[in-house]
């Protein structure tokens, strides 16, 4: 039997790695991917708790999170494409103009 806390530690590890990716990397695509990683870590939590209490509500929330991740990826990549088209760069710290 695997204790629920192990799922939480796994989730925590993935989440922290995701945070590290977001705050240290310069490449916007990697930042987006790290965000996906964080969302994913949350999903593990939800499903583990769902298993613990024996209800499917956690699954439902996980599905909402995946939906959200899809929406975020679509819009985020759209922004990246238009940004890249205008500035020829993918680096987050070069995104320093509010208005062109």
């Amino acid at each position: 039997m695997i204790p629920t806390s192990h799922y939480l530690f796994l989730s925590l590890a993935l989440f922290t790695i995701g945070v590290i990716g977001v705050v240290t990397r310069r490449n916007v695509i990697i930042i987006l991917m790290s965000i996906e990683l964080m969302l994913n870590a949350v999903n593990i939590n939800l499903v583990a708790f769902s298993r613990l209490v024996g209800s499917a509500e956690g699954h439902a929330f996980a599905i909402f999170i995946i939906t959200d991740a899809a929406a975020e990826a679509a819009v985020g990549l759209g922004i990246i494409i238009s940004f890249f088209r205008n500035r020829e760069t993918l680096l987050g710290d070069e995104m320093d103009l509010m208005k062109w």
Binding site: I81, F84, R85, N86, R87, E88, T89, W100
Partner: protein, 380 residues
């Protein structure tokens, strides 16, 4: 501020998306450029906004060779230009030299020339249809077309021993008498042939995908076609009723009745329809010709050594691909002073840039195909 804009990457290899324009190189090693044509395409996304054809990879200096060969010796070389329609090339050259000499081949020779040339036209169009359909992705018509073309090549083989580079005609007439069953063979081929053309049509003409791929693609209006000097099916599909067989009859074409098929839109689809119809007309010409092949000599009075009087001549025939012209200058010796050949493929290829602009990359193969170019002829 606005001027600090970082310039777009403009070289092709840097990026797929970042640049507004990329340059794509098609060929000379590419399965659908029909030989060694190289096309440089300027693309905006998938849209072609400009193109440049780079030719010459198959240049063999045919015209220069002519200056060091006697008139008869040069005749086999012309077969190697449009190797898909060698008989037509030979006809043009022989008639041009005959014109220079001021003689004409006897009627029997001219009728047999017409039969063989029309068969060659059918063979060339069949080969075009098969490869064009293959380029657009239809695999099967190729095999049907080659099946019929094989029959024609067998007739050539029986007549002169060669299938592809036939060297079928001689200056002044024919070297070989027609073999006994020529009429029968031609008839056996021609009688069911229109059914065969219907068969190809049933595979392609009404096919949604085929129509979608060819209608409205590579449009050339009548005026543009004339301006570019296009000829053959390319100009006829644009609605210009121009066929040298009717306009300036040569060989024995004035004896036979046939139609000049024309299109209206000048797009790839119309060129396809026109060529199919031309095959049917060629079949009719063959059938008319074999009905009554006149008797008589097959060789006119020309000497063993040809020394045309000084002067120049331009003679054009309607080759399968268009106007095939020979401009020969004689200085009175046994060798031509200058031979200039007007290959229809080259002149038609000039219109490529006009036709491709605004279309997508995938249409490049359709348009190269529809122009029916043979690189041996383009580069000479």
């Amino acid at each position: 501020m606005a001027d600090e804009r970082i310039p777009f990457a403009t070289h092709a290899e840097s990026t797929v998306l970042g640049a507004d324009e990329i340059v794509l190189n098609m060929g000379p090693q590419h399965p659908s450029t029909h030989g060694v044509l190289r096309v440089k395409l300027r693309l905006d996304g998938e849209k072609v906004i400009g193109s440049e054809c780079v030719i010459g990879y198959l240049h063999r200096g045919v015209e220069k060779i002519a200056e060091h060969r006697s008139y008869q010796q040069f005749a086999p070389y012309v077969d190697r230009m449009d190797y898909v329609a060698a008989v037509s090339n030979g006809l043009g050259y022989c008639e041009a030299v005959e014109k220079l000499l001021g003689t004409e081949a006897p009627l029997r020779a001219r009728v047999i020339r017409v039969i063989l040339t029309e068969l060659q036209r059918i063979a060339s169009h069949l080969f075009w249809l098969g490869t064009h359909a293959l380029d657009i992705g239809a695999l099967t018509p190729l095999f049907y077309c080659l099946r019929e073309r094989e029959e024609i090549l067998k007739i050539f083989e029986k007549y002169c021993g060669a299938r592809l580079t036939t060297h079928a005609f001689r200056i002044g007439g024919l070297q070989y008498e027609a073999y006994d069953e020529l009429e029968k063979d031609v008839e056996r081929f021609c009688k069911p042939f229109d059914k065969r053309v219907d068969e190809y049509e049933s595979l392609l003409t009404e096919n949604r995908i085929w129509v979608g791929r060819t209608k409205g693609i590579g449009v050339l209006t009548a005026k543009e076609a004339i301006d570019y000097g296009a000829s053959g099916p390319v100009i006829r599909a644009s609605g210009v009723k121009w066929d040298i067989r009717k306009a300036m009859p040569y060989a024995a074409y004035d004896l036979y009745k046939f139609e000049i098929p024309t299109g209206q839109n000048g797009d790839t689809y119309d060129r396809y329809i026109v060529r199919l119809e031309e095959m049917r007309q060629s079949r009719l010409i063959c059938l008319q010709a074999i009905e009554n092949i006149p008797t008589g000599p097959i060789m006119g009075k020309v000497g063993k050594v040809l020394k045309p009087p000084p002067g120049e001549v331009y003679h054009a025939i309607e080759a399968p691909k268009g106007e095939l012209g020979y401009y020969i200058v004689s200085d009175g010796t046994t060798q031509p002073y200058r031979v200039r050949i007007r290959p229809p493929s080259l002149i038609n290829l000039e219109a490529f840039d006009k036709m491709i602009r605004g279309h997508l990359v995938a249409d490049v193969v359709a348009i190269i195909g529809t122009l029916d170019i043979v690189l041996g002829e383009v580069d000479r």
